[in-house]
């Protein structure tokens, strides 16, 4: 069943269009920055973009920073929101269930397919950005210090190329983990409604609410428990040494959301009358 679900996701043109668009976006931003040589000042604009002019190897991280706030959650919410609701509204859910595919097995397969999409999308963005970044942002020979491979970390000390690679891999996993939270909300809503659009929009509404509350001082008491609170903590992977505190909290908070939502999804789907 898992193989079938993966095949279905892979054979959908939508999957590849979404990944293509996700990869395209940072490239557009990168081209503008490279052509004009005007990077946003540190602390403004997408994270990391200011550092990219110095070294293209940081561009994958910057690219993930660009797609993280909006585009990646939208893509994930659409795919996960469609997982069950799409089958339901197409009428294929009933035929899968009487084939028979156990309800738990179906959910596991759907979740696996969403996860595969998520990792593929994030990795694709990082790889594209690396290839593009290295070509676009050739360090200016005049400014190059002794070790050309070294990049200044956010803390000022230098990172080697190997460290950057490793830390970008960390970032890919951390961001995927954060996105799994979005996927869980969308998957839960997908078992509640027959409308994939409704499920995707519902998940995005939760995120927007969370984002609003994060910036709201009046909501400071709940801030630490909001799903999007630690999304940007991945930046800390590029400090020297890595600042683990927020990353750990973020991982934990997401883990709780994922566990609770998946349990709710399972409980709802197991007892649901399939009338579509």
């Amino acid at each position: 069943m898992i193989r079938v679900e993966l095949a279905k996701v892979l054979r959908r043109p939508r999957t590849w269009i979404a990944i293509f668009l996700l990869c395209l976006l940072p490239v557009i931003v990168g081209v503008f920055v490279a052509l004009t040589d005007i990077a946003p000042r540190p602390g403004e604009g997408p994270a990391f973009l200011s550092a990219v002019l110095g070294n293209g190897a940081l561009f994958p991280a910057a690219a993930l920073g660009i797609v993280l706030p909006l585009f990646l959650p939208v893509a994930v919410a659409v795919v996960a929101g469609d997982a069950v609701a799409g089958e339901s509204s197409a009428g294929t859910l009933r035929y899968l269930l009487v084939r028979p595919v156990g309800r738990t097995r179906l959910l596991v397969a759907k979740l696996t397919a969403v996860l595969a999409f998520l990792l593929t999308a994030v990795t694709a963005v990082a790889l594209t950005a690396y290839v593009v970044g290295v070509r676009l942002f050739v360090p200016d020979p005049a400014n190059v210090n002794a070790s050309t491979a070294a990049v200044a970390s956010l803390s000022g000390t230098s990172l080697t190329g190997q460290q950057i690679l490793l830390r970008t891999a960390y970032v890919i996993f951390y961001i995927s983990w954060s996105m799994l939270g979005v996927a869980s909300v969308a998957l839960f809503l997908s078992t509640v409604t027959d409308s994939s659009l409704g499920a995707a929009l519902g998940a995005l509404a939760v995120l927007v609410l969370s984002q609003v509350l994060v910036t709201l001082d009046a909501a400071s008491s709940v801030k630490a428990y909001l799903p999007t609170r630690y999304w940007l903590a991945w930046v800390d992977f590029f400090r020297e040494p890595i600042l683990w505190r927020d990353i750990q909290r973020g991982t934990l908070v997401q883990g709780v959301y994922v566990a609770v939502l998946l349990a709710m999804t399972w409980a709802n789907f197991m007892t649901k009358d399939v009338t579509s």
Partner: protein, 301 residues
């Protein structure tokens, strides 16, 4: 094959099915009739473990549902409220994906199974067109192929001839008869009386969620005891048989208390010209109309 006891399903305050007790025997061609909205589809969904009963029990092939649904459903093929497939994929791919999704069946023989199922429903030369380009009838045939691909022991079909032309309906009926002769039990849910009358050996009629009759078709259609006589000399017949004419409808007389053979002798002896003379049987339509109210799609003030 299927036994339900006191099966009841409520959606909120609406009772869709109430205290339903069905018995489908192995080898039956079972017609499940009822007007629109009478609870047929809800019952079919309960038999397939899609909808959970509020109370009552279901046994299919001697195993309780929905507890042992996985074992039971592996031997059931179903068409529920119209076919469904992924529109952007071909019919062949759709069948292969469905076959791969569930238990049983080796991968090596999958293509052969898909081809056999397509052949059975008359889609052998379907090619690689995506399903969204199929006509209604072709989709219906593909849905039947999906039900047949596992060579099930029990077929549960909800309106299987929807969207088919008369030729297609005939073909599907022949196919179902052939499968039934090979030992497959067929459970056919339909509101089309003619379809059930032409195919089924046993009939259940549902009305507003309740079972009103469950009987062999032959018993339901047993002669009523009246003999119908149609003659240009209808008045003469009426005089000859004085007192035995139950009712009269133009040149058609309904005669009671006498067998067809004896009646023919007497009328011929009396010099009556006969056009028709036959024992009256009720059609399935008359039986069903007498037993059920209007469907729920008729809205009255």
């Amino acid at each position: 094959m299927i036994v339900t006891a006191g099966l009841t399903k409520r959606f909120g305050r609406v009772t869709a099915v109430e205290d339903l007790s069905l018995q489908v025997r192995e080898g039956d061609r079972y017609g499940f009739l009822g007007p629109n909205g009478s609870g047929k589809t809800t019952t079919v969904r309960m038999l397939l473990g899609l909808v959970f009963a509020t109370s009552g029990g279901i046994e299919v092939m001697g195993k309780p549902l929905p507890r042992r649904a996985t074992e039971v459903l592996a031997e059931v093929g179903a068409l529920i409220e119209g076919p469904a497939a992924y529109g952007h994929l071909s019919g062949r791919t759709n069948l292969a994906l469905l076959d791969a999704a569930g238990p049983g069946g080796r991968r090596r023989t999958r293509r052969a199974r898909v081809d056999a199922a397509l052949e059975q429903v008359g889609l052998a030369g379907i090619g690689r067109r995506p399903v969204r380009a199929y006509s209604l009838g072709m989709r219906q045939r593909l849905g039947l192929a999906a039900a047949l691909i596992r060579s099930p022991r029990l077929l549960i079909l909800d309106e299987p001839t929807n969207g088919l032309d008369p030729q297609g309906i005939h073909e599907i009926r022949e196919l179902l008869l052939e499968l039934n002769q090979g030992g497959t039990t067929v459970f056919l849910s339909s509101h089309l009386l003619a379809e059930v009358e032409a195919l089924c050996t046993r009939v259940a009629v549902l009305d507003r969620g309740r079972l009103v009759v469950q009987e062999d078709l032959a018993t339901l259609q047993a002669p009523t005891g009246l003999v119908v006589v149609r003659s240009p000399d209808a008045d003469l017949v009426a005089r000859t048989l004085d007192g035995r004419v139950a009712r009269r409808d133009g040149d058609r007389l309904f005669v009671r208390d006498v067998g067809p053979a004896e009646l023919a002798d007497r009328l011929v002896a009396a010099g009556v010209r006969l056009h028709e003379l036959y024992p009256e049987r009720r059609t399935l339509e008359e039986v069903v109309l007498a037993l059920t109210g209007t469907g729920s799609d008729r809205v009255q003030p």
